[in-house]
Amino acid sequence: MNYSLVVLGAPYSTASATTALNFAKALLSSGHHIFRVFFYHDGVHSANKLTTTPQDEINIPQQWQALKEEYNVDLVVCIAAGVKRGILDSSEAERHEKNCSNMSNAFELSGLGQLVEATEQSDRVVTFGC
């Protein structure tokens, strides 16, 4: 089955981000397909590559990146929600005249149209709230 996931909760503040990640791993290892993971609201913080965790704790952005490398999962961060919360890729950083960016290359900044397309193209859309 073709799934999309919507992640609304901030990593390390809510269970939403880790639950979404575990669900994605379970789907892919059971042979399902993920059309897209859309990071919205506080979920955008899951794309912060500066995330630094103690060695015995899960690094959520790195885990998504690993999933992207293994399964080529489409990881999309809402640009409005992301930029507002300080999640910028290098081109947005340049456009807004910031001297650094912090978004992992595994993710892509894009608009809410990507969430609309996910609802069109997926058999199931699962929201991980906050």
Binding site: L8, Y40, H41, G113, L115, V116, E120, S122, V125
Partner: protein, 123 residues
Amino acid sequence: MSSNNAKQVLVILSSSPYGGSLAKEAIDYCLAAAAFEQNIQLLFTGDSVLQLLKDQQPTGISQKNISKMLSALPIYGVDQFYVEQSALSCYGLEHAPLCLPATPVTSHQMSALLADANITLNF
């Protein structure tokens, strides 16, 4: 992107209007979906019934007016609004004027809405 898709998307709202930014971001999604001519329904549950109150004055807390944003949805062709009857009763709003023509629904009717939707999104 194709816009002739007949999927029914049920947007389930449960956030209060100004306790967080999720209410506003949910409306942003609804406006985007409406712009792409999606078939969406809104179901206001729990604290989100407060979003429907008229005469909100959020400028004092530097927020955009949620009821005004919601009122724009019919202009974009969204016209199916439902509100959880027991949540309205809980807040004593059964007779309050609302900013959208939302149909009060029982828990049984909410189950039917969920069953009929192809996709649900929860905000």
